[in-house]
Symmetry: C2
Subunit: 336 residues, 2 copies
């Protein structure tokens, strides 16, 4: 039996079984959420997240500039802190580079890292550099903090909660598809590609939603809504219903999808790497919260479905009629 047989989630389950943590009440929370949580004292928690990016598996050197690679590899970790309602504090970088890489490449990579650090108000404090005989490997660890009252976990969704997202979905997946298919650039295509190569972690939105007790569960959208909502369902022992017609799509995605006969809603559901936040909201509090979100961020907090009391059941509805996403070619974009 190989890793391929059990899959990544099979591996994570295997690891989580082996390392049961004391649980949050016992002082720490381990595997199964965007970040690990350490209890610092009665009110303060530390958040720790780490992501590994390997050339050839997660990026291609010729497909992304070193500056954007630096920005993106840090951004995905910052997004994990935001997804818990926290604020980013410190970063550590482990970097393996082949000997033939140019110093100019390294300098541009760090330009991107430095830009992103400055934007997020985060300090790079250390790490490890090493020679690689093979691929470039980039691994950021980010530490953040959150007050105990503001911490958002995947396990906190309740039946009847509205499922909300903080930004348009599918742009990043469409940008990747445009790159892979070599689609001719126009403004709309360029926008989608930029969303793929230079995602914007929703740091202010995460801290803001963290401060609201009307928000129950939260995580960031890295694998795509279809995959990520299942994480909330598993951790919350619940089901979910997604209303496809409510998925927020950018005008650029609509335009490019129409031109190339792509399914915009498929991209929105399973495109991945949008790094919007996915949260569940007390239904009776949604209107007030969404209004406050709009006046704070100038964007919609879109309600795209509901949490249900049917553990493991994920339904897609289009205008009230159930649709079967497995028949619509989702696997094109599965990040596996």
């Amino acid at each position: 039996m190989t890793l391929r047989d059990i899959g990544e989630f099979g591996l994570i389950e295997r690891i989580a079984e082996r390392f049961p943590t004391a649980g949050f009440e016992g002082g720490s929370l381990g595997i199964g959420d965007d970040c690990a949580v350490l209890r610092r004292n009665r009110d303060e928690l530390d958040l720790v997240t780490t992501d590994l990016l390997i050339e050839g598996s997660h990026f291609l050197r010729e497909a992304i500039s070193p500056r954007l690679l630096g920005r993106k590899s840090l951004a995905v970790n910052l997004s994990d802190i935001a997804a818990m309602g926290g604020e980013c504090r410190w970063a550590f970088l482990a970097l393996a580079l082949p000997g033939e890489i140019s110093v100019a490449w390294i300098d541009e990579f760090f330009d991107g890292v430095q830009e992103r650090l400055a934007e997020a108000g985060v300090e790079l404090l250390g790490g490890d550099t090493t020679r690689s005989n093979g691929p470039i490997v980039i691994q950021f660890t980010v530490l953040g903090s959150v007050s105990r009252a503001h911490l958002k976990l995947r396990r906190a969704a309740r039946a009847q909660d509205l499922i909300c997202v903080t930004d348009c979905l599918g742009d990043s997946g469409a940008g990747l598809q445009a790159l892979l298919e070599g689609v001719a650039r126009n403004d709309a295509v360029a926008h989608l590609i930029e969303r793929h190569l230079d995602p914007r972690p929703q740091l202010a939105e995460g801290a803001w939603l963290g401060a609201s007790s009307d928000v129950h569960a939260m995580m960031d959208l890295s694998d795509g809504l279809d995959s990520d909502i299942r994480r909330i369902m598993e951790q919350s022992r619940a089901g979910a219903r997604i209303e496809v017609e409510h998925l927020p799509l950018s005008s650029q995605l609509r335009e490019v999808a129409a031109q190339h006969a792509w399914s915009a809603w498929e991209l929105a559901v399973s495109g991945g790497e949008d790094y919007a936040l996915l949260c569940t909201v007390a239904p009776e509090r949604y209107t007030v919260l969404a209004e406050a979100f709009r006046s704070r961020f100038g964007r919609e907090l879109s309600a795209v479905g509901r949490i249900t009391d049917r553990p493991g059941q994920l339904l897609y509805l289009r205008d009230g009629v159930q649709v079967d996403p497995s028949k619509l070619g989702f696997d094109h974009f599965k990040n596996d």
Copy 2:
């Protein structure tokens, strides 16, 4: 200009220049020591360390069992916390595995990790698992803590300090050489190979030395004495004199080196991966400290040289006569 031209230390300098941290007084200490240091409050500090191990660059899958690989990859990070005088608390693992790897391999790897965690009293709290299209990549981040009074930095060595090491040197390098040359196994060879494949981070020793104000600078021996003492010299703006005849050599190293005409002292000076601690001690306090160390750990705290007031000057003496290590084939073992 490529990375090969500037080297790993050139790269680290370049990064450190770009990210000057506020310094320890300002609340944090970044690049340039075994760990990053975060000031938690007036008396308590957090330590963070991370190391990246890449198959083909840092290990060969066929040369080390998955269990020992799990033990070793965690051990090198634990050693960094010990090197600052701290205690290890929490670990995070980012792991990239190719699809063809067997579940049995993965299970044995985690057996090793779990053994080491239990030995060190450390909890694995999370991380990231991902599919690699190429090599296995293993990256631990370890968090530790230390009281401010016990923190040991590389920059704290003073002229006239005695340079001390907490264990025999060269065993690991000799074990590697035995593996590379396919030397026939006897008990002594097996001991050296075990020291290479299953290093013992000196956690209790690190915390004990951290608690002594007679110990000034400290770090762990990962690259070898010749390379590592230069880090203390740079950070402390000092020089050093190593007395070759005082380097502690195990009976096994002496035996195997004699059989195969290897230079035991060269291995001790530049073999690398011993993970003993290297520290500098107030000379007038050495006798009392070494006596207490011996009664606590049953081993010598060996004085192998002195810190001098000649920044950048590293001298080797054998029985009082200067010897030139560059003429003795050190480069065989340089970890570059």
